[in-house]
């Protein structure tokens, strides 16, 4: 009797697992089929082969926004005619940022909007930056500011990395 019980348990377990695997395969296939069908008919559907390289991503993220070259940003900085917005998270900002930059992640654009508007109205060029060619935070911030009426905002692509490599002034801590 004990032997039968011993034999039975693993069999039930194996059966349950085998059933789970087949059901799992079926559910995944069903989800994928449904996904393919909906993706084919919806206007904002994705292509199956996307171009996910850092440069193509930066180009696609910049759509409709104005980029500023590093040398131009540097000359504006030297002339005191630019205000830099660091779109990264506060921890990264604390670790180091462009000297004089304001930490403004895209989610907090509303909080600093009045201050940024005044800076733009006073003739300063507003430059948003983050870290990495494919970092989307600066473009997201720039887009949000532009929608709120700060039309002159520019994006310094891979701003933090390029600024640091060029040896331009940086600082640590909060602001």
């Amino acid at each position: 009797m004990t032997a039968i019980m011993k034999n039975r348990k693993p069999r039930t377990g194996t059966l349950r697992l085998s059933r789970a695997i087949w059901q799992g395969i079926f559910l995944v296939c069903l989800g994928a089929l449904l996904a393919a069908g909906v993706n084919a008919v919806r206007p904002e559907g994705l292509t199956w082969r996307g171009a996910w390289s850092p440069t193509s991503l930066a180009a696609s993220q910049l759509q409709g926004l104005k980029e500023i070259p590093l040398d131009k940003a540097w000359s504006l900085y030297q002339a005191g005619k630019a205000s830099f917005l660091d779109a990264r998270d506060p921890v990264s900002f604390y670790g180091g940022h462009i000297k004089g930059a304001l930490n403004c992640p895209p989610g907090e654009a509303g909080r600093y909007l009045e201050e940024i508007r005044i800076l733009a109205l006073s003739g300063l060029v507003i430059i948003a930056y983050c870290d990495g060619v494919d970092c989307p935070l600066s473009t997201e911030l720039a887009r949000s500011l532009r929608q709120s009426g700060v039309a002159s905002v520019r994006v310094l692509v891979d701003g933090w990395g390029r600024w640091r490599k060029a040896g331009y002034p940086t600082e640590k801590g909060n602001r």
Partner: protein
């Protein structure tokens, strides 16, 4: 005595039913959020820098629908073992991806319940949350008795007639 009571409570199919409804709701919600913004989810996947480029779009297209189908299945009690197995597998993979990203120091958004890249960056708490959900998935796989499941309700109705 106390130990036996605790272990019987832990292995309770009612607890499993609770986990099923909880995971089902979470997966349906997570899937719908991603379906609404496929490009945002693709970007969230890309930011992990784990997947090869050719896998990002197919995964961004299919994964949210798989989440919705499985979530709905768990809620309705349809194909529970299969749903629980896939949910557990997915959560284990998500946990590994988050751990790898944390070790590499990537301050990226999770892309779990929001497709915004500006969402709060991942922390070790995300790993803990994932492992808790994984525990629920495994519990369903091991102890679920298909209580309050649609097929069983239909079967009961039919047999009454």
């Amino acid at each position: 005595m106390m130990r036996a009571r605790i272990s019987s409570w832990l292995a309770s199919p009612y607890l499993s039913l609770l986990f099923r409804w909880f995971l089902g709701t979470i997966f349906v919600y997570a899937g719908l959020v991603k379906i609404a913004d496929p490009l945002g989810f693709a970007l969230a996947l890309y930011n992990y820098h784990i997947l090869p480029a050719w896998m990002i779009n197919p995964l961004a297209i299919c994964l949210p629908w798989v989440e919705v189908i499985i979530g709905a299945g768990l809620l309705a009690g349809i194909m529970i073992p299969g749903g629980a197995l896939v949910v557990s597998g997915m959560l284990a993979i998500f946990a590994v991806a988050i751990v790898v990203s944390l070790i590499r120091g990537l301050g990226i958004a999770c892309g779990c319940f929001s497709t915004s890249v500006a969402a709060e960056p991942i922390t070790w708490l995300y790993v803990v949350r994932d492992l808790l959900l994984l525990g629920m998935g495994v519990h369903i796989l091991l102890f679920d008795k298909a209580y309050a499941s649609l097929p069983r309700l239909i079967q009961t109705r039919l047999s009454r007639k």
